[in-house]
């Protein structure tokens, strides 16, 4: 994605939105025009920034914790056959539970603050990260394993020096997914019960019939997600370049 393309897409999106407003002649409390939303965003910039910061913190912490937990789990699964046999089916099974359904419980257990949202984000990205990374760890040219055995390598060193670097592109794939899911997790957590955050602000604005503010919050959330997606994408590309031996740019 190049910056020029992004700007162009943005322009087209805003144009279509304006067109929709004109064609449908919808009242501004149903579909505000882009200009109205921009005005509302500017007026409420302080409150939007404050709540965006909360959501961003939740998302980043959730990403960090979820990635670390997921990566450690994947390594443990790749290291121990027993763990793989016992834990992998459980992990797959738990995926049948829609994580969103847990949101009220998480609020009950971890409170109305950031904690429950971070846990929500962690839960939602844990499996994609684990599964992508684990896949990369075990999907390795068997020749490397043979070579390592002939070199009298122990399992841990094989994992550390060969399997893990070899699986970094797969970890990158998991991270890309996580960057999409983590904001969803945080916002759903905020919808279920929060006193801060963009999700909370959207509900609040909705309740007070400030649809333009609601739109502004939504757009800021979308922008945050896109920027996050781009940054994580860059990181994932670097991981792949490293594993392929292409110099880091």
């Amino acid at each position: 994605m190049r910056l020029r393309d992004i700007l162009l897409a943005l322009l087209i999106g805003v144009g279509l939105w304006q067109l929709l407003v004109v064609i449908t002649d919808a009242p501004h409390f149903i579909l505000p025009s882009p200009w109205r939303v921009a005005q509302a965003a500017w007026r409420s910039r302080a409150i939007i920034a404050e709540n965006a910061w909360v959501t961003l913190t939740e998302v980043l912490l959730g990403l960090l914790v979820g990635t670390v937990l997921g990566a450690l789990t994947a390594i443990q699964l790749a290291y121990s056959r027993t763990a793989e046999r016992l834990v992998l089916p459980i992990l797959v099974f738990t995926q049948a539970v829609p994580v969103f359904a847990l949101a009220p419980l998480l609020t009950l257990w971890f409170g109305y603050g950031m904690g429950s949202k971070i846990v929500m984000a962690v839960l939602i990205i844990y499996f994609p990260v684990t599964s992508a990374f684990h896949d990369g760890l075990v999907r390795i040219d068997s020749g490397y394993r043979d070579l390592s055995i002939s070199m009298s390598a122990n399992r841990w060193n094989f994992l550390r020096h060969i399997q893990i670097p070899n699986a970094l592109p797969s970890l990158g794939t998991g991270l890309r997914l996580a960057a999409v899911y983590a904001p969803i997790g945080a916002v759903i957590g905020e919808w279920v019960g929060a006193s801060r955050g963009l999700g909370y602000l959207m509900l609040l604005a909705n309740g007070r019939a400030k649809i333009d503010l609601m739109f502004a919050s939504l757009i800021v959330l979308a922008c945050l997600t896109v920027v996050l997606h781009i940054l994580v994408g860059l990181l994932a590309t670097q991981l792949t370049r490293y594993a392929r031996g292409i110099s880091i740019t």
């Binding site: 040219d141 070199m151 122990n154 060193n157 670097p165 392929r244």
Partner: protein
């Protein structure tokens, strides 16, 4: 290399209950043995058995070193695929064995070995920037780094172009001198140049083929090399009974 033992193997190997081969193999100490045979006859399987790698079959029989010491940790292995790790430099690839054993990498020795295979100028490069022949030389340096008395080579040069292959044969003959080498090859010319012993594997057994009286490394165009190569080729094609 002093103290390179030979290997004796006797037994039969089955894959899915079907007999693959029933052999008695005698790999002489400190010499080059070239193992030939039709594709799928079990040449790689023999190497893998002795190395303790998965063969996907059942072996009943035994093998041992002629000095009766365990073979564990005394064989280094090089396959057709160079198996260089793309994220490591050539130098780091050469000493990967030390890292995998949790030992000090011994960079100075790795550098000397790279010099020996003519790659010192490329030590810091990533394998992806090297040609096929250079990559195979790096893999050879990695094999040498293991410094083991026995070396198993499974068609290591077969993916190289003819010129590079001839260079690699000469280099390998030079740097592996004194070690017990078992080279799997499908190329009669390679065997005729390099072998102290030529062994042809069939389902019925392993049979040694006469080698030229001159010692290896033989010139490609020496009459005895050419004669050996031609007769061996005829035999492998099933046109000639064993000489």
């Amino acid at each position: 290399m002093a103290g390179s033992p030979g290997i004796l193997l006797r037994g039969r190997h089955r894959v899915d209950g079907k007999l693959l081969f029933d052999v008695e193999l005698d790999i002489p100490a400190g010499r080059w043995t070239c193992l030939l045979g039709k594709s799928g006859v079990g040449k790689s399987t023999i190497l893998r058995l002795i190395l303790g790698l998965d063969t996907g079959g059942d072996f009943s029989g035994a093998f041992h070193a002629t000095d009766d010491a365990p073979l564990d940790g005394r064989i280094s292995y090089m396959a057709q695929s160079d198996l260089l790790l793309p994220w490591l430099s050539v130098l780091e690839n050469v000493c990967i064995g030390a890292r995998l054993r949790g030992q000090n990498p011994g960079l100075a020795r790795a550098e000397r070995l790279l010099d020996r295979v003519g790659l010192s100028r490329h030590a810091a490069q990533k394998p992806g920037t090297l040609s096929g022949g250079m990559r195979q030389r790096a893999a050879l340096a990695r094999t040498l780094f293991e410094d083991r008395p026995i070396v198993f080579l499974d068609e290591p040069f077969s993916a190289l172009d003819a010129g590079t292959r001839a260079d690699m044969q000469e280099l390998a003959a030079e740097v592996l001198v004194g070690r017990t080498v078992l080279l799997v090859t499908h190329d009669p010319a390679e065997a005729a140049r390099l072998a102290d012993q030529i062994t042809v594997l069939t389902g019925e057994g392993a049979r040694n083929w006469p080698v030229p009286v001159t010692p290896p490394l033989r010139a490609i165009n020496a009459p005895e090399t050419l004669a050996c190569q031609a007769q061996l080729l005829d035999y492998l094609r099933g046109r000639k009974a064993c000489a």
